[in-house]
């Protein structure tokens, strides 16, 4: 619309005139005017294909009534639509009878039964009887088309939704129509399973029960399900989901369509990541170690044991001898409680929710020109300089793909190797891990004029993160400075891939931050004094500093909250040594992990399905989570344990409920003024972006420091995360844990030849901080000179953050 003013036209539907938006498809215009036209293939988020023909209606545009599909034809002024005429009804009933002719009608044992568009529309628009007496089509049923999805071709009505999704939304067209006519069927290509990170969406899209999900099959009837709206914490965009439970067990998540974040789509990790909630390994009672063995105990004793020693250390050595790592996996309310606990009860700023692989806290929390996800739709240029979004930020991946593919944004992707977005990028730059800064410099020097021209567009959105462990946060700082210095408007999305990191940082879970995007300083502390009393005003240690402090003995006590540095910190050996050296570790977690097994006391936590609260996503969007089941045994929300611990230490926090904490946050934290649960429940679909008013008090100023050591010879090591790894929650979700790559190294064919190695060979990789054996996979997507080791894979040894690596074929 050039004028910006929406134009309206008048159409007549079943004798009544309606004003509808010019250019809108008839199917939606009619629905908005109160007339439902049946549909199977049509989907609001995908290109119309007009294949199922059930939306066919009689329309007169002045040349006499004609039958047209309502999903393919935009409204025009004076259009007369008859959705109830004999001809329309005959056509729609015929299509439904045709669709049912070969449908197996095995509804009693079909997952879709009860929420099936074919059932529903057969009732509302169908003929009511079947005259088909011939033998129905037969196929083997069902066939697994991926590790998570099964296909029943007898039920399929060939609507092209799943195939269209894989083609136009997720960009991995691994399912297609095969054969033709009455034998047309959806299938995968030989030897190419539907190995898509987004395969589960096809199950939700399927208008019949042709596609079913392994983790949900036969587990519930839809009408028995309890449902609440929530957000997935497996994706930092926090895609909106519905949590479905049957008899207190979570049986599935479904995507909720919202404009703000996910458009209803979910990665398979976000969709199927629920099995850990019911894992038999979940902790149901507080554990206290006695004579080297954990014993279950009651809360009173566990709190006493844990708190007394923490209090003792504080009294003996001061708050600087205590530290907190974690808090990124909980709610904002829990994070606030933890932040307050550290400062008020422990008296320390040694607090970090990040694990040594993140951007600076000021960049993540203090980006004033922070983009919203929705801004991607209007961007002229999108720069992605950081992780492979397909692996780490699936919702952003889909939104960027759409912006580049459908909405005309010019996409520039910078990453050390191939990424999922390369096929829609107008420019892709690669660099050797550890040499990212050189590339920034080269861009600044005008080496890539087309990229610079693109960055000089009026409207630029830059997604910036850490692409490779070897890069460190300073490259991202330099990229931010480069982007901000260009001509047009630029908005940034600083990337971090851990659950609720943004919310945790907003609550002050960083050594230099206080709640509400306020820096630790005399001024910041002054504001808090009314609520928190005296707290330290000098920035504390980050996670790396804390680990070093534990090793040196300067830090004696540690509280670990939902964090597993032994698996997750880029140099795990350092974390292991630190936890080993620690005098007193208390952990709050769902499981005993490689890290929490160093704790003297482990307190059983709740998952996000078991408690209420809010979370904040990558763009600063706050959304409410809702509980649907009780946790196992004696689990409690973090804030309640922290309140008890603080009480015992003698510094009560005064926390009484999650909602009360939320109110305290909106009073204490400037960026959260005006955010209430009432507001978030009103905005249940989209949530709200903070700050609601005014600007954040923090203002990130990029610090560009050249620290790259240019390496002329030898291989460079690229370490980055993949969607499926050995994270705690995935490890306890069997459907997903088996999808992890395992200990592999991806090597360019040229390097493989130079190493005299063939696929499947075991390569020994040696770096400054570690060595290990990895199965070699030959991969064109990894440039020569770089070897790629996916981080935190089951059975893999970590190699640290140095880019220099020696590789050789290991002896058998």
């Amino acid at each position: 619309m050039t004028s910006g003013q929406p134009e309206f036209v008048t159409i007549t539907i079943d004798g009544r005139e309606h004003q509808v938006l010019s250019g809108e498809m008839l199917i939606t215009a009619a629905e908005d005017s109160g007339t439902y036209i049946p549909r199977f293939c049509w989907h609001p988020r995908m290109t119309p294909v007009g294949m199922c023909r059930v939306c066919i209606v009689e329309v007169d545009t002045g040349r006499g009534p004609a039958l047209i599909p309502a999903c393919m034809n935009p409204v025009s002024d004076g259009m007369v639509v008859a959705t109830q005429s004999d001809v329309t009804k005959k056509a729609q009933e015929a299509v439904l009878e045709f669709l049912l002719a070969n449908h197996p009608l095995d509804c009693p044992v079909c997952d879709k039964g009860g929420e099936c568009p074919l059932q529903d529309q057969a009732l509302s628009h169908g003929p009511g009887e079947s005259r088909f007496v011939e033998i129905k089509r037969n196929y083997e049923k069902p066939i697994p088309i991926s590790d998570l999805v099964l296909l029943d071709r007898e039920r399929c009505i060939l609507c092209d939704r799943c195939t269209r999704f894989s083609r136009e939304i997720s960009g991995d067209p691994l399912i297609e129509f095969f054969d033709r006519g009455n034998k047309t069927q959806v299938n995968t290509f030989p030897d190419h399973p539907f190995a898509s990170y987004f395969s589960g969406n096809t199950v939700q899209l399927c208008p019949v029960g042709a596609l079913t999900a392994g983790p949900y099959r036969f587990r519930a009837r839809p009408w028995d399900l309890l449902k609440v709206v929530s957000s997935s914490l497996f994706d930092t965009a926090h895609p909106r989901i519905e949590v479905h439970a049957s008899q207190n067990e979570i049986v599935r998540y479904t995507g909720v369509d919202n404009d703000a974040t996910n458009h209803g789509w979910l990665s398979d990790k976000a969709r199927f990541g629920f099995e850990y909630i019911h894992s038999e390994d979940r902790l149901g009672a507080p554990l206290v170690r006695r004579k080297g063995v954990y014993e279950a105990t009651d809360w009173a004793e566990a709190i006493d044991v844990a708190a007394d020693r923490l209090g003792l250390i504080r009294d003996e050595s001061g708050g600087d001898a205590l530290a907190v790592i974690g808090g990124a996996h909980g709610t904002n309310e829990d994070a606030y409680a933890l932040s307050k606990f550290a400062r008020v009860a422990l008296g320390t700023n040694n607090v970090d929710c990040r694990l040594g692989d993140s951007l600076s806290s000021h960049f993540l929390a203090g980006t004033v020109d922070r983009a919203t996800i929705g801004q991607l739709d209007d961007a002229d240029t999108i720069l992605v300089w950081g992780p492979d979004l397909k692996e780490e930020h699936p919702t952003l991946y889909l939104r960027v793909r759409r912006a580049a593919q459908e909405l005309g944004a010019e996409l520039v992707v910078v990453h050390p190797r191939a990424t999922g977005l390369d096929d829609v990028a107008f420019r892709k730059l690669t660099y050797r891990p550890g040499e990212g800064f050189d590339l920034v410099q080269a861009l600044d020097d005008g080496r890539y004029p087309d990229v610079i021209e693109a960055l000089d567009a009026d409207n630029v959105v830059a997604l910036i993160g850490i692409a490779s462990h070897a890069d460190g946060p300073h490259v991202a700082e330099a990229v931010a400075a480069l982007v901000r210095a260009r001509r047009g408007r630029s908005d940034l999305l600083p990337l971090n891939s851990r659950a609720n990191t943004y919310g945790a940082l907003d609550m002050g879970l960083a050594p230099d931050l206080l709640p509400g995007r306020v820096g630790v300083s005399q001024e910041g502390v002054g504001r808090l004094r009314d609520h928190w009393g005296e707290v330290p005003s000098v920035p504390g240690r980050d996670t790396a500093g804390i680990l070093e402090g534990l090793i040196s003995g300067e830090i004696r006590g540690l509280l670990l909250v939902g964090a597993d540095p032994v698996r997750d910190f880029p140099i795990p050996a350092l974390a292991e040594e630190a936890l080993e050296a620690a005098e007193w570790v208390v952990a709050i977690d769902l499981f005993i992990t490689d890290s929490t097994r160093h704790a003297e006391v482990i307190l059983p936590a709740e998952t996000f399905t078991e408690k209420e609260g809010t979370v904040t996503n990558v763009e600063g969007r706050v959304q409410k989570l809702n509980n649907i089941r009780p946790g196992p045994g004696q689990t409690r929300p973090d804030w309640a344990m922290l309140d008890d611990l603080a009480h015992r230490i003698g510094a009560p926090l005064g926390l009484s409920s999650a909602e009360a904490i939320s109110k305290e946050i909106s009073t204490v934290a400037p960026a959260y003024v005006g955010v209430s649960w009432d507001l978030l429940e009103w905005e249940a679909r989209d949530g709200v972006v903070v700050p609601l008013e005014g600007e954040s008090q923090l203002a990130h100023i990029p610090v560009a420091v050249a620290t790259d050591g240019k390496r002329e010879n030898g291989l460079s090591l690229h370490v980055a995360r993949t969607m499926y790894d050995d994270g705690v929650r995935l490890r306890h979700s069997p459907s997903l844990s088996r999808l992890a790559l395992g200990p592999v190294v991806l090597v360019n064919p040229l390097d493989a030849t130079a190493l005299d190695a063939v696929p499947g060979d075991s390569l020994r990789l040696v770096t400054v901080s570690g060595e290990g054996r990895f199965e070699m996979v030959v991969d064109e997507g990894t440039p020569a000179g770089t070897v790629y080791v996916p981080f935190n894979q089951p059975g893999a040894t970590a190699l640290g953050i140095d880019s220099a690596v020696e590789a050789e074929v290991a002896d058998a």
Partner: protein, 472 residues
């Protein structure tokens, strides 16, 4: 009858070598293509518009008008549809085998008129010999500098690419053909956009014309649009190729004016019904066309409008004649089976409906018909082609599904009793009468090869033993 031959003149006069470039040039070939280089687009389109040449692929859309629709965006492409798959049609095959240069010259002129520098011929894969002949003719044209860079010494470049289909009838539908050329599934494109002339091959303006249409173009230029139009004073202009098959004495390809009645076509040109049996029905324009019967249609003129008024079409010029011993149920079943087999499967009514129709017909034919089956058949047809009429009011994406309904119109209107007899007898009355089990429907109905026979009057000689053709 002094019928002027146009597109079959050369092959009739020089049956042994009409396909060679030597013969083509010796008979005035490629002169019009040279002339066209000196003409403007408007002049060329104007000539063809004046000629009132109707497209010969089946839809009979005025060719000049189609050219006029070409969108201004460039590049533009020319695609020649040689996917001649309509059961009963075998005229393009003869044009390709016997006079490929005539079509190539038509393509050159059409490309110039539509500012295309790349043209494709999409030949059905079941036509190896026509494809070889065409390929050879194109090579000859390249060697002589009539194709390639700077054709005829001008600065106009034109390349022609031969593409073989892979056995799908639907690829004769122009948008499915374009998809197939692009390497996509051979499925009709969704409308809008309505015309390839606006968005066709690679979503660029594209002219899609039939082989016979192309073959007429050099003649229009040679004699002038006006003279072509007035060549024969009849309902439609020019001449028309008819593929006559079925139970006539002299089946074959005939180039005819539009002045004949069906009676003259079947009894004079075709020599009457085989074994002097009675005529029962005929298909006037390919398997898609609703059938005609002697009582109502024998004295209608073989022309577009006359057919349309009678609720059928001249289509691709395939006339299939059925005698009194033909079982209408089985004939219908053969046609429906063909369309159900060829359905692309994209839209529900065609994919599911045609298969269902086939099942019902087969049941009736095999003696398991129920009294309700004819009405069920009609109602199922109604769900594909509302009201069972032609041109169809379709619930489908393209007319393939409604084409399957065409024979049902005849069953409903003329042969209800015959269907009823099948049901009453629990079998086919013709089979029970004769005790034979031979197929009682013309074989050309099921898309079998043409029944080309040498005719004595006007039928174009077949080309089984042409010289210079490899027998591999």
């Amino acid at each position: 009858m002094s019928t002027p031959l146009v597109v079959t003149k050369r092959m009739t006069e020089y049956p042994s070598d009409s396909h060679t470039i030597a013969r083509y040039e010796a008979t005035g070939g490629y002169e019009q293509a040279k002339r066209a280089l000196g003409m403007t687009r408007d002049e060329l389109v104007g000539e063809v518009k004046t000629s009132e040449l109707l497209g010969r692929g089946g839809a009979a859309f005025p060719a000049g008008v189609k050219w006029g629709f070409l969108a201004p965006e460039r590049p533009a492409y020319l695609v020649v549809n040689a996917d001649e798959s309509e059961p009963g049609t075998f005229k393009d095959r003869q044009l390709l085998e016997r006079d490929p240069h005539q079509m190539i010259e038509g393509m050159i002129i059409t490309a110039i008129a539509n500012e295309a520098h790349l043209a494709f011929i999409y030949i059905r894969g079941e036509y190896p010999k026509p494809a070889r002949r065409t390929q050879r003719a194109i090579e000859e044209a390249y060697q002589n500098g009539y194709l390639g860079r700077g054709i005829f010494g001008s600065d106009y470049d034109l390349d022609i690419v031969v593409h073989l289909g892979a056995g799908a009838y639907i690829c004769g539908e122009e948008t499915a053909l374009i998809n197939s050329l692009e390497g996509e599934r051979g499925e009709p494109r969704l409308k809008p956009p309505y015309f390839p002339a606006a968005k066709g091959l690679y979503m660029k303006p594209t002219i899609v014309n039939n082989v016979e249409t192309m073959s007429n173009i050099p003649h229009i230029l040679e004699m002038g649009g006006e003279a072509y139009r007035d060549l024969v004073i009849a309902l439609d202009t020019g001449t028309y190729m008819i593929s006559l098959s079925g139970h006539v004495k002299r089946p074959g390809n005939y180039e005819l004016p539009h002045t004949l009645s069906w009676r003259e076509l079947i009894y004079d040109i075709g020599g009457g019904i085989r074994d002097d049996k009675e005529l029962k029905a005929w298909i006037p324009g390919g398997a898609s066309a609703p059938w005609f019967v002697p009582d109502e249609h024998l004295d209608l003129i073989v022309a577009k409008e006359a057919c349309a008024l009678a609720g059928s079409m001249l289509g691709s010029g395939a006339v299939v004649v059925m005698d009194e011993d033909t079982c209408m149920v089985r004939a219908a079943e053969r046609i429906v089976r063909f369309f159900s087999h060829e359905s692309c499967g994209q839209c529900t009514p065609c994919r599911e409906g045609t298969t269902w129709m086939e099942m019902i017909l087969r049941r009736i034919d095999e003696g398991a018909g129920r009294p309700v089956d004819l009405d069920l058949l009609i109602d199922v047809s109604d769900g594909i082609s509302v009201g069972l009429q032609w041109p169809p009011k379709m619930t489908t994406i393209c007319p393939l599904g409604p084409s399957a309904v065409s024979p049902i119109i005849a069953l409903r209107d003329y042969f209800r009793d015959e269907v009823q007899r099948h049901v009453d007898l629990g079998g086919c009355p013709f089979e029970l009468k004769s005790g034979e089990t031979r197929a009682r429907a013309p074989s050309s109905l099921a898309g079998a090869g043409p029944e080309v026979r040498g005719g004595s009057t006007g039928s174009i000689p077949s080309d089984r033993e042409s010289a210079g053709e490899g027998s591999s």
